[in-house]
């Protein structure tokens, strides 16, 4: 499998480190009532057969964290973006 890093270009699988589901969002850790959200965030996964948005880090290259959209039945990769996208506008 080859992943096209938005910065480095297409590289072999061994350069990337997998983390998993990129659709989960970290809840507020100060909200003591968020137990269910936290259990879901840390432990529960959709694990779809088909398109899956997932975190990879290009640890063998630029160390960028990526959001890769990949078909788990064919391994076809349909999109790759930097996970930090939009950081610039977040700061405003």
């Amino acid at each position: 499998m080859r992943i096209t890093c938005p910065y480095c270009g297409a590289r072999n699988l061994e350069e990337f480190t997998y983390r998993g589901d990129a659709t989960v969002k970290r809840p507020d850790s100060l909200d003591e009532s968020a137990t269910e959200a936290w259990v879901d965030y840390v432990y529960l996964r959709k694990n779809p057969a088909g398109l899956h948005k997932e975190f990879w880090q290009h640890t063998g290259g630029c160390h960028a964290w990526l959001e890769v959209t990949r078909d788990t039945t064919t391994h076809e990769i349909v999109a790759v973006e930097l996970a930090s996208k939009g950081a610039e506008h977040k700061e405003r």
Partner: protein, 198 residues
């Protein structure tokens, strides 16, 4: 300067000479590039434009966007990651480069010294691409990997930053890996013969 002896990363690792296939001219020549100034700079939040302008003004180099390198007066800036560059200098040796960058780019980039943390070597010769192909999973065909092109990747389980300088390839690995990397290089270059110059 300090009375402490300064040792290069290849000290005790490589010795000058001809290795591997002894026939004909060596397929590759290895030259260590010791005492270079090496540093990383990472842009501070929201300072991308300002940093580029400052680098242009101070070092006469256009900070590259993407994995290529740009040379200014005495300093080469190699793109290694979004908002991150690896700076290399002969004129500002060892710790000097990081100091110089930190002062001049104050507030625009976070600078870290790597002059001691990396081993830098130059590989050239008729078989250089064949030797590198044994570890480098990146297409270095001249038509693709043009002069100045750079890649942060792995060779034989060792992280390596490589950039092309005309027909030569400069490679950097972390200092502690110098011995293992040299072992891989010797094995991979053996069939072509390798000249080690120091």
């Amino acid at each position: 300067m300090s009375e402490l002896q300064s040792l290069s990363a290849f000290d005790g690792v490589s010795a000058a000479g001809r290795y591997g296939n002894p026939n004909g001219t060596a397929g590759v020549t290895l030259t260590e590039r010791a005492n270079l100034g090496l540093a990383t700079l990472e842009v501070r939040k929201g300072q991308t434009v300002a940093l580029a302008e400052k680098v242009q003004a101070m070092y006469g180099a256009a900070l590259p966007v993407g994995p290529v390198s740009a040379s200014g007066t005495g300093v080469r800036f190699v793109g290694i990651a979004p908002g991150q560059w690896f700076a290399v200098s002969e004129t500002l040796p060892n710790e000097d480069l990081a100091g110089d960058l930190a002062t001049k780019l104050q507030g625009l980039a976070s600078v870290a010294d790597h002059s001691s943390g990396r081993a830098v070597m130059r590989l050239e010769g008729p078989a250089v691409r064949d030797v590198l192909a044994k570890g480098l999973a990146v297409d270095i065909d001249p038509s693709v990997f043009i002069d100045g092109a750079a890649a942060l990747t792995n060779i034989g389980h060792i992280g390596v930053l490589v950039w092309r300088d005309d027909e030569a390839f400069d490679l950097t690995v972390f200092r502690s890996f110098a011995g293992s990397f040299y072992g891989w290089l010797q094995a991979s270059a053996a069939e072509f013969g390798i000249d080690v110059v120091t």
